[in-house]
């Protein structure tokens, strides 16, 4: 077959490999092992899980990208497909780029109709090997996965020692499992060595691209952020892809937050009966002085709207993590998207606006979670962190998590018993004494006779007394707008990355659109097109975001939704002419790719006949 191939892919440390499995067959741990090994080899690796909304028996994929530039977004195109699932085999084989490889189980001969002349087929008799080696059908199933990892080690040149040492670490305490696993790896390794010219044209080799980085999923980082940020209460309801936020929080709390003396937990986690109850619990706990939070996804946001309006109006700190998935209603629950932006920004009837933060990396998930508690308590309002399935559930290379020992929790304006005791005037819960729109609160039970007030979702005066007076209502709502202004100086500032060339072209992006956007900017630079970028990290928008837009005559925004929701917020809140911001929208549920962004920008520049600032190079394209 290879003879007829017109084109071949030759690469070192630049590949996309896709594993096609059946869910529930134990492939996930083998695939993780594969990605981790590359990471350990010092490579920049980004694995993406593409799984069905079901438990067992349906196609599931695991896509791993490796490159030396450190690009973590999806690249597009597949160099090697590992086809272990007969159900999806036809489609999987079709997807491989010309010149690439198909690794498959050749225990049974391949259906000839699936053959392609422009890719190379590598047959591994996985089922046969397992039949020969194992008695227990479950072991046969399980080790099949480990065997193909072993084979790949030979095929693309993964250090076998790295694999074996990972096995060693993984089975620490269960040492008897080490040998069988290493044996399975070896079975695959030997088979490949003996039957193919190893390595193939696509290989990996050790690098030092990893530095001190870690490989962690965003949801775990959020859970850790909540532990370090001092969260003590979580009310939650299971929903993909947010469930693992609370699972991580619980796991680390159990490890780190149980009082050694009493055995009592320094936290309370309650699985609620639904999302309405989950956010209600968070509001109740926050009102009572605990740092409380919940995590959910789209449907939960819709259900929490009424309570979010209460928290806004009654000014109760509320931290909420929305791990976004695809679509309205149930949509595609195991796909990614950034489509709850408007729903979160304006959640609830009446005039409301909520503070949003948008992490783009696991480290930011950690940092912003801890910060969200500060923000919520400082501003006495809901703070919603918007992340997504892509960041939340995929292992992502990240700077290590950091904690500054000198940092103290910012608990906001709360009168202590002493302060209340010393007060001569009457305490007024909603008095704007500092002129920043933020009033002082008291925790229930603080002082025997002073500082008690009545919290309500109905209109009230500065002393929290019920009123239907229009002027009081207006004064209060205007104060909330003042607080909104104040918030702009509290929230995370945007990250602005200027090409340094005084470019006229700017790209806005946020959250998980970052990796692909920055990669696209690199490509554009190679074409000689200089592009500046601004990563929005919070709503309300800092002045710097507006300035960035002003400073660029052509502005794009990259979003992973249909309706350009962040753009809506920008034009609406910053009084920006919508025509000034060109949306680049990807909403098929898969993470956006650099190519998609690059093409969108290019075609728009062509249409508008924009002459971008070009580098003094003539033919960077040829260099590639």
């Amino acid at each position: 077959m290879t003879m007829t191939m017109k084109k071949t892919i030759h690469s070192k440390n630049d590949l996309v490999i896709k594993f096609a499995n059946v869910n529930g067959t134990g492939s996930a741990s083998a695939n993780n092992l594969f990605a981790k090994a590359l990471f350990r080899m010092g490579l920049s690796v980004s694995p993406k899980n593409i799984f069905p909304s079901n438990i067992q028996g349906l196609p599931t994929w695991y896509e791993v990208r490796v490159n030396d530039k450190g690009y973590l977004g999806r690249r597009g195109g597949i160099d090697i497909a590992v086809c272990v699932n007969p159900q999806s085999m036809a489609k999987d084989i079709k997807e491989v780029s010309p010149g690439g490889y198909v690794v498959y189980d050749n225990t049974k001969p391949l259906d000839l109709r699936l053959m392609r002349s422009d890719v190379e087929f590598i047959g591994l008799p996985l089922t046969q090997i397992c039949l020969d080696e194992y008695q227990d059908p479950r072991q046969r199933q399980l080790f099949k996965n480990v065997i193909y990892v072993g084979a790949l080690a030979a095929l693309i040149n993964i250090d076998f020692e790295v694999l074996t040492s990972l096995i060693g670490e993984q089975f620490k305490g269960k040492e008897k499992l080490i040998a069988p696993n290493v044996h399975a790896l070896d079975l695959g390794y030997q088979y490949a060595k003996n039957h193919f010219t190893c390595p193939l044209r696509i290989t990996v080799e050790r690098r030092d691209n990893r530095g001190d980085k870690i490989l962690i999923d965003g949801n775990t980082a959020i859970g850790l952020g909540a532990v370090f940020g001092g969260a003590t209460m979580a009310g939650w309801y299971p929903i993909t892809p947010s469930t693992s936020v609370i699972e991580a929080f619980e796991k680390y709390c159990k490890r780190l937050r149980v009082d050694a003396g009493s055995g009592k937990k320094n936290y309370a986690i309650v699985q609620a009966e639904d999302e309405l109850a989950a956010i209600g619990m968070v509001i109740g706990a926050s009102w009572n002085g605990a740092r409380a939070f919940t995590a959910t996804s789209g449907p939960g946001i819709s259900l929490m709207s009424e309570f979010l309006g209460l928290a806004y109006f009654a000014e109760i700190p509320t931290v909420l993590v929305d791990v976004q998935r695809t679509g309205p209603s149930t949509g595609m629950p195991t796909r990614t998207q950034q489509s709850d932006v408007i729903a979160c920004a304006y959640a609830s009837h009446g005039d409301t606006k909520h503070v949003l933060v948008f992490p783009a990396t696991p480290k930011e998930c950690f940092d912003m979670t801890a910060q969200a508690f500060d923000l919520a308590e400082q501003l006495q309002t809901p703070v919603i962190m918007l992340t997504d399935l892509d960041l939340g559930m995929n292992d992502t290379m990240s700077e290590p998590l950091e904690w500054d020992e000198a940092r103290a929790y910012e608990r906001g304006k709360v009168y202590s018993a002493e302060q209340l005791e010393a007060m001569s005037e009457k305490f007024g819960r909603y008095i704007d004494s500092d002129g920043d729109g933020i009033p002082y609160r008291t925790y229930p039970g603080t002082h025997p006779t002073k500082g008690a007030f009545f919290t309500r979702g109905t209109s009230r005066d500065e002393y929290a007394i019920y009123t239907e007076d229009g002027a009081e209502y207006v004064r209060n709502m205007k104060r909330l707008l003042k607080k909104w202004e104040t918030a702009k100086s509290y929230v995370p500032a945007p990250v602005i990355d200027n090409s340094g060339k005084g470019s006229d072209i700017g790209v806005l992006h946020y959250g998980t659109s970052m990796a692909a956007t920055l990669e696209a900017i690199d490509y554009l630079a190679q074409e000689g097109i200089a592009v500046d970028s601004c990563r929005i990290r919070a709503f309300p928008f800092c002045k710097a975001v507006e300035e960035f837009i002003e400073q660029h005559s052509t502005v794009f925004i990259v979003e992973q939704n249909r309706d350009a929701q962040m753009r809506s917020l920008l034009v609406n809140e910053c009084e920006i002419n919508p025509k000034r911001i060109v949306p680049i929208l990807n909403f098929d549920g898969m993470p956006v790719t650099a190519k998609f962004i690059q093409q969108a920008i290019n075609s728009r520049l062509d249409i508008n006949k924009v002459t971008p600032i070009r580098k003094n190079t003539t033919s960077n394209k040829a260099e590639q």
Partner: protein, 350 residues
Amino acid sequence: MSYIKPSFRHPELPVNELGFTQQQYEGSLSTLCAGCGHDSISGAITKAIFELSIAPHNIAKLSGIGCSSKTPTYFLGSSHGFNSVHGRMPSVTTGANAANREMVYIGVSGDGDTASIGMGQFAHAVRRNLNMMYIVMNNGCYGLTKGQDSATSDIGSKSKKGEPNPFEPIDLASVALQLGATFVARSFSGDKAQLVPLIKAAIAHQGFAFIDVISPCVTFNNNPGSTKGYEFVREHLAATGTVDYVPMKQEIKTEYAPGSSTEVTLHDGSVVHLHKTDDKLDVSSRRSALALMQEYKAEGKILTGLLHMEQNSRDLHETIGSSNKALRSLSENELCPGTAILGSINDSFR
């Protein structure tokens, strides 16, 4: 507006063990209809807490939305209160309680607030055995939205519009028992002699203490053909098409001995038959309570009093093993694992 504050106070008011007067447990003026049963319950709560000598600031009072849910403004003015959203008081109280088990939690709700929109949250607060007193001020209707039937409304009972309710009622006390509530009682708003001790017992109970209090709505139980002499006025209003006249009424009071029955005539002329439990009921047996309630119901009577109580009740905190301290009082040292541990966590992801 009914003025539940006494207009005259003796200069030397009696004080409780903590030195507080009963006045210090009162709230602001009620804005409910004169004679509304809910105000009587507020009074009973005030009295019970005064007599229990609980410092007002150690109490949190929470509610949903409705006339009943307004009452926390009208008692315990020195306690923090939270008038949340319709039907969701249980979850807010769950969070508040989870955050600080050192306080006493009083949840006030209505039959609409609990048996309709709040049914799910109610059931799950029961299931978690949340340590709180949960009072439903049960008037069989939606007072604040002007008299629609609620889910506890008796079949055949007529609303202000004169329509008989066609649905079977939900009996919240039975449902609570069935769901495993560890303290269930029923009473009547006008029976302070029964209500005050029940409230005290409910507060003392370590777990979910439910009291279903029948509390007549004077305004929307004014059905045609009832109170004599009122006909002229009613017809007048019916003809003008505007239901906007609410006559001032007296609170309905009753006192009767344990083990005996009484009949209470409501403002609309209808009659409820109450029977007070006595020592013969084995309150430790959930099954016997359920059976007895059904028996009385079959006779057209409503059993009042303490119906069930579990001695060794484990509340949510016991179940999940959470800290004895208020979570907000945990120091940053106790909460934040610090840099060194974070370092080893980082290592585990390399």
